[in-house]
């Protein structure tokens, strides 16, 4: 009879194959097309930037956790996801040291300070970006034309910048050499335009997003709500809805950043409101705000509401509305009279 070496566990004694690590790996894979395309567009500097942020993220998580004597956690790959995402939402010309600083801020301040994976109330990569934007506004709002190298190429305005400065879509189309507005849409969809490293090709970003949807890593509610409401409110505020979706980081944000587990609500209704709030804020900031693009802040603001949206839970099985004590109390009072 075997003694003392059998596993004594509480039920269940079986587990689904998904693990934290596999999930993060899936996100990394989903990001590869957009990453590859970004490197194709902006060349070696973009590659170096990606490597630098990923390395900085992983290193800072390792070192920080070692310093506070917490269990090592880089094995879950989430630091790589954060680092990669941060690189992808930065302008290709971001100086390496800035990007590294941003990655350290993301991981240390936005994630590890709050207890690490899953405990952070704000999206680390976006906090990193906001931190950089705030600290070095000039550098983080300098954009380059794609496919020309960025070492000595001329800076340019992104389509959103042009619109913010009052250009019409036809002007934008002319400026980016797309001919007519239809051509502009097509060009934006394919990704021949200036912007952050990873956001350019809506096509490739969507493929990554659909891959995650197909694997069940993300749920459809948030991306659909974000994209739908961005289009809706853009239209309501007098902007072109299709252009609004295709320009800037909306699609990227909707698939990869608004869906971040730790910072988005858990329940379906919560997710819907969260996504809708992001869409509304994107449209508002683009139309009225101080920035041409508002995805970062829209998501960060809604991150703050997640704890409240988490309270919008589905009715549990067999839910019975609690009896109102008032009803029983009222007759008693009357009787007392």
């Amino acid at each position: 009879m075997p003694a003392n070496n059998l596993l004594l566990s509480s039920s269940p004694h079986a587990f689904a194959p998904a693990t934290t690590r596999k999930i993060m790996l899936a996100v990394i894979i989903a990001l590869l097309p957009a990453t590859g395309y970004g490197i194709y567009l902006y060349g070696l500097p973009a590659l170096i930037l990606v490597i630098a942020t990923v390395a900085a993220s992983v290193a800072s998580e390792l070192l920080f956790r070692a310093a506070i004597k917490a269990p090592r956690s880089v094995g879950d790959l989430s630091a790589i996801v954060t680092g990669l995402l941060l690189a992808l939402i930065l302008p290709p010309s971001t100086p390496i040291w800035m990007a590294v600083l941003g990655a350290v801020f993301s991981i240390v301040v936005a994630k590890e300070f709050f207890g690490g994976l899953g405990a952070n109330p704000f999206n680390p990569a976006l906090i990193g970006r906001a931190f950089l934007l705030m600290s070095f506004p000039a550098a983080i709002t300098t954009w380059h034309k794609p496919l020309q190298g960025i070492v000595d190429a001329a800076t340019t305005a992104t389509p959103l910048n042009l619109v913010k400065q009052g250009a019409s879509l036809a002007d934008v189309a002319a400026q980016v050499g797309a001919g007519d507005v239809g051509g502009l849409y097509w060009q934006l969809f394919l990704g021949n335009r200036s912007g952050s490293i990873g956001e350019s090709s809506i096509l490739l970003v969507s493929i990554g997003g659909l891959f995650l949807l197909g694997l069940g890593v993300i749920q459809w509610i948030v991306p659909v709500a974000v994209l739908g409401t961005t289009a809706l409110f853009s239209w309501a505020l007098g902007m072109d809805p299709l252009f609004s979706l295709l320009s800037g980081g909306v699609v990227f944000g909707a698939f990869f950043m608004a869906t971040d587990y730790s910072t988005s609500p858990l329940t379906p209704l919560g997710k819907a409101i969260y996504g809708a709030g992001i869409g509304l804020l994107i449209a508002l900031i683009r139309k009225l705000g101080g920035f041409p693009e508002g995805v970062t802040y829209a998501i960060l603001v809604m991150n703050m509401l997640s704890p409240f949206l988490d309270k919008l839970r589905v009715k549990k099985y067999g839910y019975v509305a609690p009896k109102k004590p008032a009803k029983t109390a009222a007759p008693a009072k009357e009787a007392a009279k």
Binding site: N4, N5, L6, L8, S10, S11
Partner: protein, 278 residues
């Protein structure tokens, strides 16, 4: 000069009106309340900074008076205030000081594991899903649920897998006794002297105990037989000392083959055995 006169008139008037209004309202809307609240309130600085986590000094004073809060939460007042408040609410001296005694000696080495437990690291969780992680169904699970509930920092998990009571700090509040799913703590008067069996295994089959734990009581009844005062009796499978008779002669302790008999005053509460868990 004119300004100064105006100032004088204005300020005197304003202050008088305000003062009178305040006095008037205070009288008019007087609400009776616990004098202790007022006393505590008086001892607090009145900065109303909210640093204590209560809504202002009044809120905190009420909480202290109702024993819902400790006396040392006012950071603005510092240590002096804490002392004053503590003095005000000072609980009447206990009739008898109590302490907690762990009735198990099944350290990691001595008490055999039943299997390789995996699951949440709490004693209650382990007991619920395994009956007991130890081959002894009564033994300490060693996850320190008791340590976690102790409000006085009087319990610490020893390296040997058993919780250690710091008798300088233990107040005998009984939280550990209540929390322990194995019910391994006895709350006894601090002044109690005499022998005690540090084991709770009630399996009456000697072989079973021996298989499970090297420190357990094997029901040999050597203690019962040797006691010159005849103060030990087997109750429900475990020897029990009658403290009215026990003279702390230590014969039972000497005789116990597994050394699970001990003297409260020296072996348990004395400095000797309190392993300071550095």
């Amino acid at each position: 000069m004119m300004t100064i006169l105006i100032t004088l008139g204005f300020s005197a008037l304003l202050a008088f009106v305000l003062g009178a209004l305040l006095g008037f309202f205070r009288e008019k809307f007087k609400v009776e309340r616990d004098p202790l609240v007022d006393a505590v309130r008086g001892a607090l600085p009145g900065a109303n900074c909210g640093g204590c986590g209560y809504p202002g000094c009044d809120g905190y004073a009420e909480a202290v008076a109702a024993r819902r809060a400790g006396p040392n939460l006012c950071s603005a007042g510092g240590s002096k205030t804490a002392e004053a408040v503590a003095a005000l609410v000072g609980v009447a001296a206990n009739a008898e000081d109590l302490v907690s005694v762990l009735l198990c000696s099944g350290t990691k080495e001595k008490a055999l594991d039943k299997g390789a437990y995996v699951g949440i690291p709490t004693c209650r969780g382990a007991k619920l899903s395994t009956g007991s992680t130890k081959a002894c169904a009564w033994g300490c699970q060693g996850f320190g649920d008791c340590v976690a509930v102790c409000k006085f920092d009087a319990l610490a998990m020893g390296d040997d897998g058993l919780p250690k009571v710091d008798y300088a700090k233990c107040t005998g509040c009984g939280m550990c006794a209540e929390e322990c799913p194995q019910k391994l703590f006895a709350i006894v008067p601090k002044s109690r002297k005499g022998s005690v069996v540090l084991c709770s295994n009630r399996n009456v089959v000697k072989a079973n105990v021996m298989k499970a734990c090297k420190a357990g009581c094997i029901k040999c009844e050597a203690c019962v037989k040797i006691c010159p005062e005849a103060c030990i009796a087997m109750v429900n499978g475990i020897p029990v000392t009658d403290y009215a008779k026990c003279t702390s002669c230590g014969k039972c302790v000497e005789k116990c083959p597994t050394k699970c008999y001990a003297l409260l005053e020296t072996d348990v509460m004395g400095k000797k055995k309190v392993a300071v868990n550095a």
